[in-house]
Symmetry: C2
Subunit: 157 residues, 2 copies
DNA sequence: CAAAACTACGTAGTTGGCTACATATATCCA
DNA sequence: TGGATATATGTAGCCAACTACGTAGTTTTG
């Protein structure tokens, strides 16, 4: 039993990160094993474009919950892989509109069964007595109502 | 409502990381607000040393669940801050034994009330219908029994 | 309708974790 | 007991997120 497990709550940020990293790495392995040239971090962008078809850079960033510079670097990778393409918005010349290429759309089709298996496996792992996904959602909701910092302020009085 | 929230499980790694980052940042703000020169990432090391008094580098790494190089870089920072000090183990010259300095011990005392408030606030946030900390523990346990990759293999058949 | 404010995108540089590799010491076993 | 193996530490460099800042185009407003 290590200490971090004992003190729990104060190191929760550390533990969230550790778990995230573990799942990410295994996810990468699963794609590799299935001969799919795909990285877990691309999933949010690809899936978003699969559903919404065409979006600007900042719109994607908002959808996936990343900063826009992070999103730009993801998009660069995906463009290099020819999974997405982009063009300037004629109505608003500041915007760059992103869509999946034919290759990108094929990739989505190819990945569907893998995603299904991954979903099942992840559910096995996370759908326990305390459902991890729901716990995350509930925590996020609480944070939206009032942030960690604000709560600490009030508790201190 | 953004897409990542809808697809949930497949982006769980992303969401864990996002939540972790959010809590870490607010944590830093709380220390700053209380005029304590301390970073959230130092917590696991400091707390470990507070409890165990004297440990080697690798022992600390194991306790906090980090790789030893990451631990070394944390220790370097803490040594620079004069929060910890270290000496060679006379019985095993490979080892470097780490302890809290007087300043480090004072810091722990000073931080106790802040930690208490933080614990309470974190409990408000995470102790919902599905307790986040317990959900993490349960997921980690499941992963120990069988990894994500192995599960996906078996489900695929 | 021009100046101010705002929005979209991009680049540069930081951060906090990691793996891979190198070296020194300790332990084990033929 | 000395050569192979294992362990402890350290360095270098990678990676994927971030913030801060700059530029260009759009919208608002006095």
């Amino acid at each position: 039993m290590n200490i971090i497990d004992e003190i729990g709550i104060l190191a929760i940020s550390t533990r969230l990160q550790r778990l995230s990293e573990q799942l990410r790495k295994d996810g990468a392995q699963i794609y590799a094993y299935n001969n799919i040239d795909f990285e877990p971090k691309w999933f949010p962008v690809i899936y978003t474009l699969h559903v919404k078809e065409m979006l600007s850079v900042v719109e994607i960033a908002n959808e996936i919950g990343y900063s826009h510079p992070s999103t730009i670097s993801l998009l660069k990778e995906l463009e290099k892989q020819k999974i997405i393409s982009s063009k300037k918005d004629k109505l608003d010349e500041r915007k760059r509109l992103i869509i999946l290429t034919a290759k990108g759309k094929e990739l989505v089709v190819k990945m569907q069964p893998v995603w299904e298996v991954m979903s099942k496996a992840l559910n096995e792992i996370t759908n326990t007595q305390n459902n991890l996904l729901k716990a995350i959602e509930e925590a996020e909701e609480n944070l939206t109502r009032q942030g960690f910092f604000q709560r600490a302020l009030e508790l201190k009085g």
